[in-house]
């Protein structure tokens, strides 16, 4: 292939070849840009997550000290604390971490491909779709609040994924006529979300009082009754989809530009966007089936990551880790900050996330004025 540019060599040899702000890391065929922040922020988030898990696990009717929890986690401890930590308390934190990571990652994906920092799986109706599926199983499948066994283990996640996918397909079909860009997708998402909310209300009215109570608790987003079973679906989803997302982060970077520019760079934008969207839907739906719709994690964590890493595009890995850390810390706060009252994690994330959303709106208004 012809190389079009023959550069005058004198100019090149005068200065060492380098591009400011883009230090390289190169190992064999693998290469990338080295930024200290890209390593230290995820590392700090992982440490914060570990601390949250340890603190969360130690709390309870039978308190266990921090060193003891750490001891158990690294394979030590006596059998009583091992049982309490690993069997009873660990699932709660692990489910929280997995749900947070899945939501953070899904939020980063959705914000990137819609090029809108205010977008999230909630706004696109994916969460509502997943919620509708899960509520349908809880209400229609159980007798007086007794969804259990395979129905709870497979039925709820499966219905969530199905509901989330259906909502996404509906949004996609209604919005796709002019490509997937811009505000059309978001507007359609808000509409679909409204329809699904009324569907959920209808299901709740139809349900028995016990089922409805359970469904409402579930709809606020709670880690309260988490078991290892709850972790399974979202755990598998993350195990498979996190590597997929890291590969897809390559076209993802270009999708943050306008469609013409992205296509001009050789990105098959419709295929890449669809793959990313399906990834986000699967993550959101499995996370929702595990703990209910935990509000604002998917919206706020990618934006937090963008600010900490000072990048233009929502960073995928950092958003996932921050999502996990924020969710487990929110659970710790919800369980301990209000004395004997234990608040579900979804209320805490909403209480922190809503003002943050307002702050974002105010800031973007200010930026536009100057």
């Amino acid at each position: 292939m012809l190389k079009p540019s023959v550069e005058p060599t004198a100019r090149r040899s005068r200065e060492p070849s380098s591009v400011p702000g883009r230090k390289a890391v190169r190992v064999g065929p693998v290469s990338g840009v080295w930024r200290a922040r890209d390593v230290f922020v995820p590392l700090a988030a992982a440490l914060a997550l570990f601390a949250a898990v340890v603190v969360n696990t130690g709390r309870g009717d039978f308190p266990i000290s921090v060193p003891e929890v750490v001891d158990v986690l690294f394979g030590g401890g006596d059998s009583a604390s091992r049982m309490v930590v690993l069997e009873f308390r660990m699932p709660r934190s692990v489910v929280g971490a997995l749900v947070g990571a899945a939501l953070g990652l899904a939020g980063a994906i959705v914000q990137g491909i819609s090029r809108n920092p205010l977008a999230s799986p909630d706004i696109l109706g994916i969460t509502a779709g997943a919620g509708t599926g899960a509520v349908a199983v809880i209400v229609l499948g159980g007798e007086y609040g007794s969804v259990s066994g395979p129905l709870a283990e497979i039925g709820v996640p499966a219905a969530s994924v199905l509901g989330g996918l259906l909502a996404a397909v509906l949004v996609y079909a209604l919005a796709v006529r002019r490509g997937l860009s811009g505000y059309r997708v978001l507007l359609v998402g808000v509409g679909v979300q409204a329809v699904l909310s009324s569907l959920i209300s209808w299901l709740l009215v139809k349900a028995s009082i016990v089922d409805a109570g359970r469904a409402i608790l579930w709809l606020t987003g709670s880690l309260n009754a988490s078991t290892w079973d709850n972790a399974r679906a979202v755990g598998w989803a993350l195990l498979v989809l996190l590597p997929v997302a890291l590969v897809l982060s390559f076209p993802f970077g270009a999708l943050n530009f306008d469609d013409d520019t992205a296509r001009g760079l050789g990105v098959r934008i419709d295929a890449a966007r669809a793959a990313l969207l399906v990834t986000a839907v699967l993550l959101t739906a499995t996370a929702t089936s595990a703990a209910g719709p935990v509000a604002f994690v998917a919206l706020a964590c990618p934006q937090l990551a963008v600010r900490l890493l000072r990048t233009g595009t929502p960073p995928l890995l950092a958003s996932a880790l921050l999502g996990a850390a924020v969710t487990v810390w929110a659970d710790v706060l919800g369980r301990t900050a209000f004395g004997s009252i234990e608040l579900p994690v979804g209320i805490l994330t909403a209480a922190v996330g809503a003002p943050y959303l307002l702050y974002l709106l105010a800031r973007s208004g200010k930026a536009r004025r100057t």
């Binding site: 292939m1 012809l2 190389k3 079009p4 540019s5 023959v6 550069e7 100019r11 090149r12 070849s17 380098s18 591009v19 400011p20 702000g21 883009r22 390289a24 890391v25 190169r26 065929p29 693998v30 290469s31 990338g32 840009v33 090029r115 920092p117 890291l246 590969v247 897809l248 982060s249 390559f250 970077g253 270009a254 943050n256 530009f257 306008d258 013409d260 520019t261 296509r263 001009g264 760079l265 050789g266 990105v267 098959r268 963008v306 000072r310 990048t311 233009g312 595009t313």
Partner: protein, 286 residues
């Protein structure tokens, strides 16, 4: 209209006849059921600077988009080295043809260096994202466009002219033999327009790149392009050397404009002195 040219002829041009690597054949383009470009045949000579001119809505940007594979033809085809661009993989086209859209948008807070580095996308893979070739090409593009000193600034900190130079640097880093520029001078004042067009001219002289651009400023198009293509209502009205295309008759015909075309003795460039709209023609076309 339908000269059938053998592909062999394209690869080996006759003496005195420049090679043609990019061409449109019976190209009809549109959006939905609205046809914008009607069966155009157009050859872009290799290593030339071509400017497409014409009134708003004449289909010049649409034509450029289809050259860059952004728009699928309703009929006809765009041939790149004898193959339809729509039959080629997107990445392969992107490694040969660079494109700068009319008003490109980048994510907020992106630095100039990161923007320009994005131009390397067609040469990268998911695990090879910053090779030493990438680094060299980006440094070259930054230096050549005079944006090296701005590399660590974010796009929103730049002036309009600087920002446009940064975008051109991105297209340059793509290292393609053909470059399509859709109104690269919009929203710029005259000095910055000249700035951008001088840069385009330099690129062409130093690297022999084939450049096709859509321009509004007629005198500037005549000054910086070797060939003009004048379009009206989705058809090509005239093409050739600027002094042959940019005539008083053509301005009347294409733009409905009464104007005087003069040559400035000192610089040798063409001047367009508008006198007013051509009332008769205006009424006839509206």
């Amino acid at each position: 209209m339908t000269e059938t040219v053998d592909i062999k002829d394209l690869a080996e041009p006759g003496p005195g006849q420049p090679a043609v690597r990019l061409r449109a054949e019976g190209l009809t383009l549109g959006y939905g059921d609205r046809t914008v470009v009607h069966g155009i045949d157009l050859d872009i000579p290799d290593g030339s600077v071509t400017a497409v001119i014409g009134p708003n809505g004449c289909g010049k940007s649409t034509l450029l988009r289809s050259f860059g594979r952004l728009l699928k033809p309703m009929s006809g085809q765009v041939l790149l080295d004898g193959t339809s661009v729509h039959a080629m993989p997107t990445r392969e086209v992107a490694a040969l043809v660079g494109l700068l859209p009319q008003s490109p948008t980048a994510p907020e807070g992106l630095t100039v260096a990161d923007l320009v580095a994005r131009g390397r996308h067609p040469h990268q893979t998911w695990y090879r994202r910053w090779s030493s070739e990438d680094e060299k090409a980006v440094e070259r593009a930054l230096r050549r466009t005079g944006t090296y000193e701005l590399a660590e600034r974010t796009l929103d900190e730049l002036s309009g002219g600087q920002r446009q130079r940064a975008w051109i640097a991105m297209a340059l880093a793509q290292d393609t033999e053909m470059l399509l520029l859709d109104e690269p001078t919009t929203h710029l004042d005259l000095a910055h327009q000249i700035d951008v067009l001088e840069l385009v001219g330099e690129l062409h002289r130093e690297t022999g790149r084939t450049i096709v651009m859509v321009l509004h400023e007629l005198a500037l198009a005549a000054r910086y392009a070797e060939r003009l293509v004048a379009m009206k209502d989705g058809r090509i009205v005239a093409q050739g050397a600027p002094e042959d295309v940019l005539t008083e008759d053509l301005l009347r015909e294409v733009f409905g404009l009464r104007a005087r075309v003069r040559r400035d003795e000192e610089s040798g460039s063409l001047l367009v002195i508008p006198l007013g709209r051509d009332r008769d023609r205006l009424e006839a076309t509206v």
